[in-house]
Symmetry: C2
Subunit: 192 residues, 2 copies
């Protein structure tokens, strides 16, 4: 059902996301006031907060909106999940730089990683695993993805340590690899 209400709400939501991202790209995320975003869309600041719970959420939503990981059903579970997560994070254009630059945006983006838990859990369940097991493993996958993001951003921490920081896809694969045995076991458990 696409009532007028729904369409209007969605329109202002999208407008707010786009305005927030545009302003952040132009002036830097620090220098964007909620009032500006609201004004650019023709809405009150109070209404902005009815749509987004913080100043950062609209910007992050502009990047994560309408993006859901797709997990291929044929391949082994671990491989499918890894590819899906890698694909999920491998579009971001220049906007990604804005996000990793700003601490508040980084935190908000890391929080948004939770969004992959639902689809991942569904995929694991679809393979026959117990839903509660799937929930835990999906949370673990999201946690590993956050670790990968953290490593990607970090300037390599202690100077003496390895500077692996290659591409984000490689970091994600490396971070998810230790979870593969648990994913395989979940599948096996479903068979038993």
């Amino acid at each position: 059902m696409e009532s007028l209400r729904e369409r209007k709400k969605q329109a202002t939501r999208v407008a707010l996301q786009e305005a927030a991202l545009r302003l952040a790209l132009r002036k830097g995320p620090e220098n964007v006031r909620v009032e500006e975003i609201a004004e650019a869309v023709g809405v009150s600041p109070r209404t902005y907060n009815n749509y987004f719970p913080s100043r950062e959420h609209a910007i992050v939503a502009a990047l994560t909106a309408a993006r859901a990981p797709e997990i291929p059903p044929g391949v082994p579970l671990a491989d499918g999940i890894i590819d899906a997560v890698v694909g999920y994070y491998t579009d971001p254009g220049e906007a990604m730089l804005i996000i990793v630059t700003n601490p508040a945006l980084r935190a908000c983006y890391a929080e948004a990683v939770t969004g992959i838990e639902g689809p991942v859990a569904a995929a694991i369940t679809a393979r026959g695993a117990d839903p509660r097991t799937a929930e835990v493993l999906a949370a673990a996958v999201a946690a590993a993805a956050r670790v990968a993001l953290r490593r990607w951003v970090q300037p390599a921490g202690v100077p003496g340590l390895v500077m692996v920081s290659g591409g984000l896809p490689e970091l994600i694969r490396a971070a998810l690899a230790p979870l593969a045995p648990a994913l395989a076991a979940a599948k096996a458990h479903s068979v038993a």
Copy 2:
């Protein structure tokens, strides 16, 4: 080194934690103002925020302060970690009820679960695993613990579903179980 500075800082920090918890228990967490906590300790509100980044953090800190999970070195890795995490969450007296009642405190407490990642990662590394693997697995363990906490709080979600919500320890064991294969593999990998 216990300089006068350090001792004073620690004293006010502890005083703030205790005051925050005491007031929260007496009046309910919602009705405690930062100004009150600061005044109870004899410090300015601004100083409160130099110690804690939010109103909730002091209350949560009062419960998580000086608590580090102890992971026995002898037993199998997964068992040791599970027992340690269970023990970590199995003291909380009546104060726990205050926390699970309030959404903001719940969020803050869940965030504090990150505190176990360090010790857990250290224990995994101590068994010979790669530090980067240990970091990922520790994050996964923390994520599983958060799932257990979520399940413990939730009023059993959909009415038709199982109402497992027994004790928190059982929930934690159930949530960590799916990660056991990954923990075992990390240890095996170190041996190979």
